[in-house]
Amino acid sequence: MSRNSEESTKCRVSFVVNESPITVRVHPMERLLDVLRHELGLTGSKEGCGEGECGSCSVLMDGQLVNSCLVPVLQAEGSAIITIEGLAVDGRLCALQKAFLECGGAQCGICTPGMLLAAQHLLSKKPHPSLDEIRGGLSGNLCRCTGYMQIFDAVAQAASGEFPT
């Protein structure tokens, strides 16, 4: 396919990322994950499995947790996306990020951005989750390092107000 015909199948897609409005010129079936990483330089969202099983690419789309590897970018048109880069406030870590650090909730770091967004999504729906609710809220996010207990602890401690921002 020539470069020109490739350009001609692109379209403009506008959405808000971490509170900044952006417009990209992309192929409509490009994955939101690739647009975030390659077009916008937001490499915090990771690709693990690429098929919606591991949760490493989790972002919030209009407040809902989604796997960005399964979102064609055209479907993000008009939406508000929050990535891991948007969690800190004015350069200061949010309560969840502090709790993950303190509790040892991160090891190799590949799952961590997705874990944090899944935890943020959970706390936005249930500010004081039980352990079962924490496990359920994070059940779509796989970690191969920590054994999960430190992650559950971190979410519980953040919910208890242990780490004020």
Binding site: E51, N67, C69, L70, P72
Partner: protein
């Protein structure tokens, strides 16, 4: 090999009539895509056959729930999260609520739709046995009009459905007549979230004075399509509940399923578990009747 995005077309007309006229203009050329939890996996793996997709994500006509006096209509574009959060589904259609909790993790529940699950037509889908036992009906829509069909005949063979190339599922209709039934669902898999079932069961039953008045059993991952166990149901309806009847039901269910060996399990294991799950349900049903 990974797909090249430039080779695919995706349009988002944002209205149901516009989507339907696109489907009518070139029947079979356009593939509807809702939350993408199945199609995007095929796309990324380079296995998506179609090159033209039309987005039906978040179309208001599809993403609505209507509760009428005698029936609930679930828009086909409702997500599993929508189903989990809906009060009437939670109180009257527990089997759907449970299946919605077991389908993927939270992120997939936020995007995966009940209509997509039906059309994707995986025999392993957790929500489909529930629709079989509630004897759901589907409203199908195209530019030609609407038709209402029983869900029981919708899957004609492995991954083949009655949906015409220019049609979409508009809604799933459930009669509100299940408050008096004992309802039970069970998923047997490596884990509940994010794991596809080895076997799953949805069951409804009524027992009075020790007699099985009515029973409905449906299973996933045991046949080329989601399977209603009609012969097993017939064999135990109207019979007195006792240990002997449970063993008949176990043998009938194990014989009625048509499982295969695959990466998740074996045919032999699945048939044995199918029998066990039916007995587990009958034990519960028996215990649910207050002793007189």
């Amino acid at each position: 090999m990974r797909a090249h995005p430039a080779e695919f077309e995706l349009v988002a007309p944002q209205s149901l009539p516009k989507v339907l006229s696109l489907l009518a203009e070139e029947p079979g050329a356009w593939c509807p895509i809702a939350g993408g939890t199945d199609l995007m996996v095929q796309y990324s793996a380079g296995n998506l056959r179609t090159r033209k997709l039309v987005s039906i994500w978040n179309l208001p006509e599809l993403r609505r729930m209507d509760v009428f006096e005698d029936e609930v209509r679930i828009g086909a574009g409702c997500t599993f999260t929508d189903l989990r959060n809906h009060a009437t589904i939670g109180s009257e259609f527990k089997l759907i609520s449970l299946a919605a909790q077991w389908t993927g993790g939270i992120a997939n529940q936020n995007r995966g739709t009940i209509g997509g699950n039906i059309v994707n037509a995986s025999p392993a889908a957790d929500s489909l046995p529930a629709l079989l036992v509630y004897e759901a009906e589907l409203i199908l829509i195209s530019a030609r009009g609407e038709r209402r069909v029983p869900y029981s005949g919708f899957h004609v063979s492995y991954r083949k459905t009655q949906l015409a190339p220019d049609e979409l599922i508009l809604a799933i209709c459930l009669k509100r007549e299940y408050s008096g039934y004992h309802a039970h669902a069970r998923k047997v898999g490596a884990r509940n979230a994010q794991a596809i079932s080895k076997v799953c069961l949805a069951a409804l039953g009524k027992q009075r004075k020790g007699v099985v008045e009515e029973i409905r059993l449906a299973m996933g991952s045991v046949a080329p399509v989601p399977l209603r166990l009609v012969a097993t149901e017939q064999a135990i309806t109207g019979k007195t509940m006792n240990e002997g009847l449970m063993q008949v039901a176990r043998r009938m269910a194990a014989a009625e399923v048509q499982p295969i060996d695959d990466i998740r399990s074996t045919a032999r294991y699945r048939a044995a578990v199918a029998g066990n799950l039916v007995v587990e349900f009958l034990e519960q049903l028996s215990a649910s009747e207050p002793s007189s």
